[in-house]
């Protein structure tokens, strides 16, 4: 059976209301679009979304139509965290001064991996440090997909993109994926989590916890892109699951500095199950795959150790 048992029994418990409309212009099989559905099911209509330029912004807001059922603003590429900080400050001041009624409104700043880890990192660091009561969500499809699959600092080691192509002199991306969650933890914020669209209830729970946290929260959601990863569109969810099960993308949360692994994988699957269906890895030799698997497992072991130490 290809679906996780939890999902089979729990799927009916998914909140019904759609605040992200069909008719958006995402590619077939787009996991980031699915992430938007889950985010809004978790947060509900009292949410304001501040979106960076990128896939989700482009496919959801082409005038005169919008896929959004909540108030939404797009300003530029690198600044959704700053825009969200401004919205949060504005609402806070207005409520305190009685200009608008007091109400719990969740403010979300979001971008893809490029808009987060590269060009957006300054604004995010600033917003997290200043302690705004907001959520920062990174939907990670591991490259600048909207502009044609160029590498970002979220592109994993060994993956081919149009600006880190495989060739006779190169095996693709030769740097390691930036650890966004650790960067967020270093800002001492109340809540940090990694999530994956293939584990929808885990993701939605994390979004709820992020909203409940008093102060900044950061959620990093892994969202496969069949177009950019060069795989059939029906594999988006399966690949997300395999990424977790091979330690390519572990799921954990950090609550006030304490680590907890939320999807325990006692027996990691062979990495090649995850890599083989993806065209962006087809150039990798067995040696490189073995090297990557080794690196990923070492990091996973370190994370497990950190979590165990946290719980003591």
């Amino acid at each position: 059976m290809s679906s996780d048992l939890t999902n089979v029994f729990a799927a009916k418990m998914l909140p019904q209301r759609e605040l992200f409309s069909p008719g958006h212009r995402a590619c077939q099989g787009c996991a980031p679009a699915l992430a938007m559905r889950y985010m809004l099911k978790a947060l509900g209509p009292d949410t304001i979304v501040c979106n960076s330029t990128g896939c989700i912004e482009i496919i959801s807001s082409s005038y005169p139509e919008s896929a959004w059922g909540v108030p939404w603003i797009h300003v530029a590429f690198e600044n959704s965290a700053a825009v969200a900080a401004g919205v949060e400050a504005g609402l806070k001041a207005m409520m305190r001064k009685g200009r608008i009624p007091e109400r719990r409104i969740t403010v979300v700043g979001q971008a893809g991996d490029g808009g987060t880890m590269d060009i957006g990192i300054q604004a995010i660091s600033g917003a997290l440090e200043r302690g705004h009561d907001m959520i920062y969500l990174c939907y990670d499809n591991e490259a600048y997909m909207n502009t044609g699959i160029q590498r970002s600092s979220g592109t994993p080691w060994g993956a081919a993109t149009t600006t880190s192509p495989a060739g006779t002199q190169s095996f693709g991306q030769h740097t390691w994926k930036k650890n966004l969650a650790e960067i967020a933890v270093a800002h001492h914020i109340p809540y940090v989590a990694t999530a994956c669209v293939s584990y929808p209830f885990d993701f939605m729970e994390k979004m709820k916890k992020a909203a409940a946290a008093r102060g900044p929260a950061l959620v990093h959601v892994f969202a496969p892109c069949p177009t950019g990863w060069r795989c059939p569109s029906n594999l988006a969810i399966r690949l997300g699951r395999l990424a977790v099960q091979t330690a390519a993308f572990p799921l954990y949360e950090v609550v006030d500095g304490k680590y907890r692994i939320t999807q325990n994988v006692p027996h990691l699957k062979p990495l090649e199950l995850y890599l083989k269906p993806q065209g962006r890895y087809r150039h990798l030799t067995d040696d490189l795959i073995a090297e990557l698997q080794q690196k990923l497992r070492e990091r996973y072991a370190a994370l497990v150790a950190k979590a165990e130490a946290s719980q003591e």
Partner: protein, 94 residues
Amino acid sequence: MSSLPGYKALPPGCPVQEPLSAHRNHTGSWRSERPIWNHDLCVQCGVCDMFCPEACIGQNDQGYYEANLDYCKGCGICMQECPTQCISMKQEEE
């Protein structure tokens, strides 16, 4: 001739004033294959609805799931994730 407003009628900054108005855009024209549910195998669990990026899968009067063909892009995630493998993808003719 565009059906969009002239500049004097535009609200400042051209915001989109109708939430969820993307539903007017029928993306079903994109697909080259469509999902078909086998009701003998369908246990009405809802996993297909859950994993649909278009949010276009819902239940019919008998409770069986089906795709809204106005929006279904034919990605096949529902077929891939169905726990009873009751969904198959059928080529669109023409």
